[in-house]
Symmetry: C2
Subunit: 306 residues, 2 copies
């Protein structure tokens, strides 16, 4: 049962006995906002709701906020966990800045904190590498983790302009709300921090990541990449260097026959290297918004099952 | 502490207070068998040991036996579980024929049954798809799961002969003990059954799998595959068809730019398709025998941690 949906600037609905989900959503679709005419309309904020409503699971779906270090999402999550509520989030910000704190908070309050959609939209990339390879140590993580920029590079390869490519990515719904987050590497920086914190248990945030914007790419390099033997990709990378972690989001040339070069359209790839096993890759082919939604759904079902 | 190592035909060592692991292993390496001169040498069988020894974890590493439906491994595992001993196995046979029975047996006796090395040598391919995507249903599984045959096809591509390729595969240690298991598709058939049983919970065994030996490949087809636009790969596949599962191990031509075509040398790839999400792939690049060993080690560490 859904007892409330709260948005930042498009109104909110709530009802302790359960909202009228479908009529509310239809009204939202019509007006692009919840409206005072909706029977469940309320005028209090998400912050009030997280503090006072009687719910079982907080599903936190706000957008990435780098400059305010994941606020207000991280405060919502902290409040919910301290009230012993399970939390599911698709927002990478709170994990990129504060994963270990939130994990420990969830443990102390005996509740669940799940975040499958924060990296690679619903593909299981966390638990396999957090729980299933305890006999070895992860030494390096790399990947193409931002769909929009891979789509743009692939479209440029096929002769499209940058503007056409961005427009198509936004129309298909996988560009971030703020396209600068994609093109300037903030989305990738947040994702590599989420992976470093969850899989390598290191303390790093997006401001620590060496980041080169895709808009700074030298077209001469790019033309060279078109020779056939190399391809330009926008790569997130983190490596152990002694006791610290070096993390980067950089445009890089990769060999044409490699798995990274083979990631087309808005696909994603993650490469995990350990001190014992051969490299492992996880690939997601042509995800849609449904994949993010399924990631959240998978988390909700997992919370309920447990 | 290791209290015993039992082989089929190369002697055994055991000691309830712990064997002298390194001296025993050195002696094994020298003589290619345990010897009556080893201080821990015993003359009873693995079967006796599983029934009578006081151990915590059975690590079952015998080879695939299709014709005897996974005996004697499956009997060892049943005996150990009924004695409430945790079991780790790298042998795909018992799972290919009896996974659900063994899973239920482990549950009834409150012990752990882990098998990470049975498919893709230590890569986590089970728990992510058994536990992390409960909001959708797996409709199809496919993959290149046999290292030897992919290595052979890749070597033929590079101009080697079949004999040279098999010899190299055996020298590098990833060809199955009986190479017919690889080339006739029995290894792939067992693996697709393990995946179908664990991830789709269906009842199927290697004799139900439609199987075409790689030795039956038409070289005309193969030459065509060399045109550049296609590659020949040996593919394991399982698909839901109504209430049943259709499983196959067949040589297939795949498009040259595809991820399957990009699997080189002895690499493996697994593709998971669901009713909700975009296709997910897991790739293992150039595994060695260490990967199988790490899969077993990961399982042992996981058993101890739990």
């Amino acid at each position: 049962m859904f007892i409330g949906i709260f948005t930042k600037s498009r109104g909110s609905v709530a009802n302790p006995d359960g909202i009228n989900l479908l009529p509310d959503l239809r009204s939202f679709r019509t007006n692009n906002a919840f409206s005072v005419d909706d029977s469940d309309y309320v005028d209090y904020t998400a912050e009030d709701a997280v503090k006072n409503l009687d719910f079982d699971i907080l599903v936190e779906l706000s957008t990435l906020n780098i400059s305010e270090r994941a606020e207000p999402a991280v405060s919502f999550i902290r409040t919910a966990l301290r009230r012993q509520k399970d939390v599911v989030t698709a927002n990478k910000g709170p994990l990129a800045f504060f994963y270990q704190e939130l994990r420990d908070l969830a443990r102390s309050y005996h509740c669940q904190f799940r975040f499958q959609s924060t990296v690679m939209d619903g593909v299981p990339v966390f638990s396999p590498f957090m729980s299933d390879i305890p006999g070895c140590r992860i030494v390096s993580i790399s990947g193409i983790l931002n769909s929009t920029t891979n789509f743009i590079l692939d479209a440029l390869d096929r002769g499209q302009s940058m503007e056409q490519a961005i427009e198509t990515a936004q129309r298909r719904g996988f560009a971030e709300a703020d396209p600068a987050h994609d093109i300037d590497g903030w989305d990738g920086a947040a994702k590599i921090c989420v992976l470093v914190r969850t899989l390598m248990d290191a303390d790093i945030n997006p401001f620590d990541v060496e980041r080169e914007s895709l808009s700074a790419v030298d077209l001469t390099d790019y033309q060279r990449s078109l020779s056939g033997s190399q391809k330009l990709k926008y790569i997130c990378r983190a490596e152990r260097q002694g006791d610290s972690i070096k993390a980067q989001v950089l445009p890089e040339l990769v060999p044409a026959g490699s798995l990274f070069a083979g990631i087309k359209d808005n696909g994603n790839i993650l490469k995990i290297e350990t001190d014992g096993m051969a490299p492992i890759y996880v690939v997601q082919e042509a995800p849609t918004l449904y994949d993010t939604a399924f990631g959240v759904l998978n988390d909700i079902v997992a919370v309920i099952k447990k």
